[in-house]
Amino acid sequence: MKLSIAIAAAMLAFAPAAFAARAWVLPSQTIVARAGGWVTFDAASSDDLFSFNQGAYPLDGLAVTTPDGQPVTPQNVSKGRTRSSFDLEIRAPGTYRVAVAGDLVMARWEEEGKPKRWRGLPADMAANIPAKAEKLEVEQNQRRVETFVTVGAPTALKPTGVGLELVTDTHPNDLYAGETAKFQFLLDGKPAGDLEVEIVAGGTRYRDSPDAYLVKTDSKGAFAVTWPAAGFYWLDAAVTDENATVPNVKKRRALYNATLEVLPQ
């Protein structure tokens, strides 16, 4: 009994994505007429989309970039019990990328028969994992949870080249019900082929079926989705591989989530 609890706990610690609630960042608006206003964001993890009824999503990796790719610091960043939030002052026309991104290493080992765990930045790994660690297992965990806001006309978004990410051939602030959007997934800047992508409409509390739309990327990492109706959608994809980008680490898990707004015709 005790042993099985320990195993379950270890499994939980090592497979957060498989069990964790859905992570999302929800903007107060995605289309802004002109510079000189504010957009507010909520960030949370919840099974219901987009209800902040489970846990706040930590904003440690909050990374907002202006239309010309410069980092910008949001204001009024706060973490509550069920949601985190922040305000972004919109100062320039074009598309803002609003992301919470992380690149962490998770390690588990034994020291004199006792289980030990550590989670932190790849750069701090050597200082925190003892050389004599037994049964050492390390995993890189890359994560990107993002959304987009456009002021005036949309501008192109540049891929970061890090982890799993969405390339928006159809601009993420130019999505309309009944139309087909074309996207591509990249892993470390290269096409992520044969990747399963899940798309779920918001308002899950108000329907009986989850209505998840599953699609696989082709060999070029490309996929298309025809939006059945207007609303906010949550997009989810994950890769588990042995291509960690941190030295001395093999296992890697890369996760990607986006919140996209589809407008009516």
Partner: protein
């Protein structure tokens, strides 16, 4: 002022402004009287649409000019996505104040901007209206350019717009 006298005045004004000889495109649109508790005049965008739904020419954009209300222009959803978002407002000869309930006549000279530059082809006039705490509606009236014969197209709005009529006068 009653409806009919306003229409008469508008007709009188347009007759005085336009010469009898020049070809023109004229649009008669009705902003309906709506029995609602909170009424605001609608924002309206009127444009010439290409077959691929891009904007060939903007004809009119009416929004609240008192104070800074340009932040609500994206609510003219189709107009905004098709090119409203690329336009700097206010724009001379294009943007204007919202209009009251009633009939409104707009006349565009075929030989003057913005129609003078329109290449021959198939187009549509789109009238889109959106009202604060109200709804949104767009109607389309197809036409061919240049104007060869007198022609009339009509469309009927169901919520935010009343009857809309397009007259082509060679």
């Amino acid at each position: 002022m009653s409806h009919s006298s306003r229409v008469f005045l508008a007709l009188l004004l347009s007759a005085a402004a336009g010469g009898a000889s020049a070809a023109d495109l004229s649009l008669n649109l009705e902003i309906p009287n709506l029995p609602v508790a909170e009424y605001h005049r609608p924002y309206v965008a009127i444009w010439v649409e290409n077959p691929d739904q891009s904007i060939a020419a903007n004809l009119a954009v009416w929004y609240n000019l008192r104070g800074d209300h340009t932040k609500w222009l994206p609510d003219l959803r189709q107009w905004w996505r098709r090119g409203g978002r690329d336009l700097k407002v206010p724009a001379d000869g294009l943007t204007g104040a919202t209009r009251p309930v009633g009939q409104h006549i707009l006349k565009f000279d075929a030989a003057a901007e913005p129609l003078a530059k329109l290449p021959p082809g198939k187009y549509a006039i789109v009238v889109e209206a959106v009202r604060e705490v109200g709804g949104r509606e767009a109607v389309r009236l197809p036409f061919e350019w240049p104007i060869k014969a007198t022609k009339r197209e009509t469309a009927q709005g169901t919520k935010e717009l009343g009857a809309v009529a397009l007259s082509l006068n060679p």
